[in-house]
Symmetry: C2
Subunit: 206 residues, 2 copies
DNA sequence: CTTTAATAAATGAACGTGCATTTACTAACT
DNA sequence: AGTTAGTAAATGCACGTTCATTTATTAAAG
C-alpha cells in the first residue's frame, strides 16, 4: 500500500467547522474561504476533498441527518412517562434552532432540501424518523393509559409533528417567549383533547 | 409641479414581473438583469427607481403584505359557515405556495424576513392579520354553536395557525397529496376535538 | 542505510464569471 | 430651460474553480 502525504485534519473536523460557520451565516452566505481559514486550510483544498462547495454542504447535510437519526432512534430513558419524553425529544431536536437567526439558517437549508433531490432525500429521512419516534411514544402513552384508548396514534402523530413545525415557525416570526416554552404549549394543545380524563394537560402547573 | 419624461411602465407592473421572476428562481436567485429584460428595461433603471436590489425586493414584500392583509381583512361571503370559511381562507392564503418549488421560494422569503428588520415588520403584520382573521372566525363558530361554548378561541387560533404552517412544511417535505387536501385535514384535526357534538369533523364526507 | 520512485495531500496564484452599482450621457416632456 | 426617465458602458468586487507546483510519506531498489 502506498500512502501519500497524510491529511492534516479529518473530514469530521471540517464538517464541524462548516456547521459552525453555517450557523453564523447560513448555507447561502457560506464561503469556502471562511471555512478554509477557520480550519487552517486554503479553499482549493476543500474543493479537492469535497469536490465542490455543494459537495461540502451535502456532506454536512448527510452528517446532520445521521445525527438527527441517532437522536430520534435512541432508546428512551427509563421510567420517564412517554408524553414527557415526547416533549423532551421535540425540544431537544429543535434546540439548534433556538434563536431566530439559527432558525432562519434551518429554513435556508430546508429551501435547499426542497429544491435539490439529494438534499431532499436526507431531509425526508429525518422527517420520517421523527414521525416514527413520535408515533411510537404516542402508542406507548395509549398503552399506559395516558392517552385515551382508541386514539388514532398515526393521525395524532401527524398533528403533533405539524404543531411542532408550525410552532417553530410562528415563534421565529413573533418571537414571544422561548422556543422551548412555545413547543411545550403547542404540543400540549395538540395532545390535551386526547388525554385520558381527568388529565387536562401534560404540563406541570407550577 | 414640473413633470419630466413620463414613466414607461409603472411600479405595479415591475413588481408583478418581479414577483413572477421570484416565483421561478426565488429571492436569492433574482437578478436585476432578468427583471429588467422581462419588463423591457435595463438594470440601471431598476436601481434608479428602487434604490437597489434590496429596495425592489422590499417594495415587493410591502405589496405582498398589503395583498395578504386585504385577503385576511375582507368581509365574509354571506351564509357560509364560519369554519368552512376558515378552511377556504387558509387554503386560499397558501395557494401561492402550492408546489414544492413555490413553497421553497416562500421559505426563502421567510429567511429574509427573519433576518432583516424591515422585512420582518411586514411578515409579522401578515402573520398577525391571519391570526386575527382565524380568531374572529372561531369566535363566530362558537357563537353559532359550531364549536363548544367556552372554547378558548385565542388559544385555538394559535393551534390552527400552527397546524397550518406546520402542515405546509410537512407537505413540502413528503409531497403526499395536494397542499389543499393536507391543509383541510390538518385544520380538521386541530378543530375536531372542539366541535359541538355530535359533529366529529368539518370535512364533508363524500 | 541510503536513495529513488511513486503517490497522495495541500498550496498559491491566476482565471473567469456573474452581478450590483456608478457615472456620464441622451431623450422626452412642460 | 429645467426636470425627470432612461440608457450604455464601465467599474469593481466577491467567489468558486482550475492548474501547476511543492511537500510529506511510504515502498521498494541499490
Amino acid at each position: 500500500m502506498v500512502t501519500g502525504r497524510p491529511r492534516g485534519v479529518d473530514d469530521a473536523v471540517i464538517l464541524r467547522t462548516t456547521a459552525e460557520v453555517v450557523g453564523r451565516v447560513g448555507p447561502a452566505g457560506l464561503t469556502l474561504a471562511v471555512v478554509a481559514r477557520e480550519v487552517g486550510m486554503v479553499p482549493a483544498t476543500l474543493v479537492q476533498r469535497f469536490g465542490s462547495k455543494r459537495g461540502l454542504l451535502l456532506a454536512l447535510a448527510e452528517q446532520s441527518a445521521k445525527d438527527a437519526g441517532a437522536l430520534f432512534g435512541r432508546t428512551r430513558s427509563e421510567h420517564e412517562p412517554a408524553l414527557d419524553a415526547l416533549v423532551t425529544l421535540t425540544v431537544e431536536s429543535m434546540a439548534p434552532m433556538a434563536s431566530p437567526e439559527m432558525y432562519a439558517n434551518h429554513l435556508a437549508f430546508l429551501c435547499i432540501d426542497l429544491t435539490d433531490p439529494q438534499f431532499h432525500q436526507h431531509a425526508l429521512a429525518v422527517h420520517q424518523a421523527q414521525g416514527q419516534a413520535v408515533e411510537s411514544l404516542l402508542a406507548e402513552a395509549v398503552s399506559t393509559g395516558a392517552l385515551r384508548a382508541g386514539t388514532d396514534t398515526v393521525a395524532l402523530a401527524r398533528s403533533v409533528q405539524a404543531a411542532t413545525a408550525g410552532t417553530g415557525l410562528m415563534w421565529a416570526l413573533d418571537r414571544q417567549g422561548t422556543l422551548a416554552q412555545r413547543l411545550r404549549q403547542g404540543i400540549d394543545a395538540a395532545l390535551s383533547p386526547h388525554l385520558q380524563p381527568p388529565d387536562r394537560s401534560i404540563l406541570e402547573k407550577q
